[in-house]
């Protein structure tokens, strides 16, 4: 792996992921109604510059702002069996998958990457709510396991950004089995004495909350994120009463002892660096934007990843 592929690939990644946004697009903040120019919104990590409402952000966009100089390398995720149950509701599961892939430009609902934040090497995993509600199926489980294995291999901490409506129902029981599977991944990190930080983003619900998202050493949530096992509607139907204002929101969970912190998205990176470096016994980080990291020898990633590397190298030479 040379530094060019390491440096240029993320750019290609971000080009690839740019979801056909016309240059002059304005977004209306769903919370306060302010019209926000998309580039400004993007620079502010999809947080409303007027009312601080946190809108959804894709894993790629998040990683680009998270890693030093926007540089990260994807970690390959083993492909699971497609449509193991031959599931069909009103649509066939493979058709739903294809539609989600077309719509997002992504393969699945989880992105795994390695790179540095504030010169601190980490493995990061982010769930993509725009891909079938971020739902947890075999691929999401495989991604978390691959991330934990890579973190253990490189002796790096793992940071996970959760966002999911819950289980991938189209994978039935195999979706449920991701609860124990991902818990095994967390065990691996714990045994290797590596920090595991969970950043809970809106929304994190169901089996995802009841497994890897609630097993972090440190739990940080984005403001106003809905975090729950059973959703508010289900609870209202069960207990037949109105729930209090802010119920199951990040601040409410903080009050009830389920979280360590609620942190603004724009301050998240710095906070992660600060916490990680202390947990790792490293000196305090230099603050501010950092240039791209120097090339350091890391063990070769597995075959699939290196294949991706060579293809991007070919593109580089053209450019």
């Amino acid at each position: 792996m040379n530094w060019i592929s390491n440096y240029v690939r993320p750019k290609i990644n971000s080009l690839f992921s740019r979801r056909e946004i016309p240059e002059n697009l304005w977004t209306k903040c769903p919370e306060c109604g302010t019209m926000l120019f998309h580039r400004e919104l993007r620079d502010n990590l999809n947080v409303c510059t007027s009312c601080d409402h946190h809108m959804a952000i894709t894993p790629r966009d998040r990683f680009e702002k998270l890693f030093d100089g926007g540089i990260f390398t994807e970690v390959a995720v083993p492909e699971p069996t497609t449509d193991p149950l031959h599931f069909r509701d009103q649509k066939r599961y493979p058709d739903r998958m294809k539609a989600a892939q077309r719509q997002t430009g992504e393969k699945e609902a989880m992105l795994v990457a390695e790179g540095e934040i504030g010169r601190t090497p980490i493995v990061a995993v982010a769930q993509d709510f725009s891909f079938m509600g971020g739902s947890m199926g075999m691929y999401v489980g495989n991604a978390i396991i691959a991330a934990a294995e890579r973190a253990v291999e490189l002796k790096r901490p793992m940071v996970l950004f959760s966002a999911a409506g819950g289980a991938r129902m189209q994978e039935g029981i195999l979706s449920l089995m991701q609860m124990p599977r991902t818990t095994v991944a967390v065990e691996m990190l714990r045994e290797a004495e590596l920090p595991y930080i969970v950043v809970l983003t809106h929304p994190t619900t169901g089996g995802v909350t009841a497994s890897y998202a609630m097993l972090g050493d440190v739990h940080i949530a984005e403001p106003n994120a809905l975090i729950c096992f059973a959703g508010p509607r289900v609870i209202e139907q069960t207990i037949r009463e109105k729930l209090p204002e802010g119920f199951q929101r990040a601040e409410y969970l903080l009050d009830h002892g389920m979280l360590d912190r609620v942190t603004h998205r724009c301050k998240m990176r710095e906070e992660l660096v600060t916490i990680l470096r202390m947990l790792l016994g490293q000196p305090a980080a230099v603050k501010g934007d950092l240039p791209a990291p120097e090339l350091t020898e890391t063990p070769e990633p597995n075959e699939e990843a290196s294949k991706a590397d060579s293809s991007s190298k070919a593109e580089d030479s053209k450019a």
């Binding site: 699971p80 069996t81 497609t82 449509d83 193991p84 149950l85 031959h86 599931f87 069909r88 509701d89 009103q90 075999m138 489980g141 396991i145 289980a167 129902m169 994978e171 039935g172 029981i173 195999l174 979706s175 449920l176 089995m177 609860m179 124990p180 599977r181 818990t183 095994v184 967390v186 065990e187 169901g206 089996g207 909350t209 009841a210 497994s211 890897y212 998202a213 609630m214 097993l215 975090i227 729950c228 096992f229 059973a230 289900v234 609870i235 069960t238 207990i239 009463e241 729930l243 119920f247 199951q248 009830h256 002892g257 389920m258």
Partner: protein
């Protein structure tokens, strides 16, 4: 009094008629109804066999939820000796939806834990219909930890519609409690055997069933979501539960093919509710065999085997 399920109505009619005839004969000793009644018995037996030969997934859900099916308490009372319930999570409360304590299974001391649904209105309310709150999972965690320290095998009996979706349950960390319980299942260095005796409802079931061996009764179900819930989300129509039950592959037979469970324990003809004693005995025998099978493994092997088993899960889908 037999409680009939909806699909058993024709059977109920025939069995009812036979019963009526016999009652009539008891009142009028001159009447000879035996031949006719025996004919009806035969018809009923054939129908029962036919109905249960190929239960649809939705019918299995109904059988799995049958009110007369033996519940956790019935198994504990019949199979275990010296059952000594241990209560409380040492933090907030004792959750009556989860039973647990020390007991002997054929003489061997074990820790037994399970969901209890209750058998009449009063006990159902007390047991919260088998829907545990965080305290239930935290009690289970405490008991599993104790079993680990004193090297006692753990047996869990799973029978829950799911974890309780309530306000207090959420405030006290339902998610965290379930996650920690699953984690504890993975950490203990003693045999952990789980039997799904009725409903294995989602995360509430996994929290007990992340086991070295998972067995299911023939007509029990185990699913990520109830068919009704799945229907209302994916079909936008909760009446489509038959389709959803079909699509979810929640039967013991499908789960065995998917490699999610290790063993199916046969039920008597007509379901566990028709021969409770026989069902309980079959579960006891299966537990004994599985326990013996695991008894020679070291704590490290048990932990590693459990991990490997779940990591490898999902590598095979259903045949086309």
């Amino acid at each position: 009094m037999t409680n009939y399920l909806e699909f058993e109505k024709p059977l109920a009619e025939i069995e009812g008629k036979a019963e009526e005839l016999r009652a009539l004969a008891r009142a009028n000793p001159d009447m000879d109804v035996e031949k006719e009644a025996a004919g009806l018995d035969k018809k009923a037996a054939d129908m029962l066999k036919d109905l249960y030969k190929n239960l649809t997934p939705w019918r299995k859900c109904q059988v799995a939820r049958h009110p007369d099916r033996p519940h956790c308490k019935d198994y504990i009372d019949a199979l275990f000796t010296e059952y000594t319930p241990l209560a409380g999570d040492r933090n907030f409360a004792d959750d009556h939806a989860v039973m647990g304590g020390l007991a002997r299974l054929y003489g061997t001391p074990v820790m037994v834990i399970g969901h209890e649904k209750g058998h009449d209105t009063k006990s159902r309310i007390e047991r919260n219909f088998g829907m545990a709150r965080p305290e239930g999972y935290r009690k289970a965690i405490r008991l599993m930890e104790m079993a680990h320290r004193f090297k006692l095998p753990v047996i869990t009996l799973v029978d829950t519609p799911g974890a309780y979706p309530g306000k207090g349950a959420e405030e006290r960390g339902q998610s965290e409690a379930i996650a920690r319980s699953t984690e504890k299942c993975l950490q203990i260095g003693v045999p952990l055997i789980s039997v799904i005796i009725g409903e294995g409802g989602s995360g509430g079931a996994v929290a007990f069933a992340t086991a070295n061996r998972v067995a299911m009764l023939e007509h029990s179900v185990y699913s990520v979501i109830s068919p009704e819930g799945c229907a209302s989300i994916l079909w936008k129509d909760s009446e489509k539960m038959r389709e959803a039950a079909e699509a979810l592959r929640l039967t013991a037979q499908d789960l065995e093919k998917l490699g999610v469970i290790d063993k199916i324990i046969p039920e008597p003809l007509g379901g566990a509710q028709r021969d409770r004693k026989g069902t309980i005995e079959s579960v006891g025998k299966a537990l004994e065999v599985m326990l013996k099978d695991l008894s020679k493994r070291t704590p490290q092997q048990l932990i590693q085997d459990r991990r490997k088993k779940f990591l490898g899960m999902g590598s095979k889908g259903l045949a086309a």
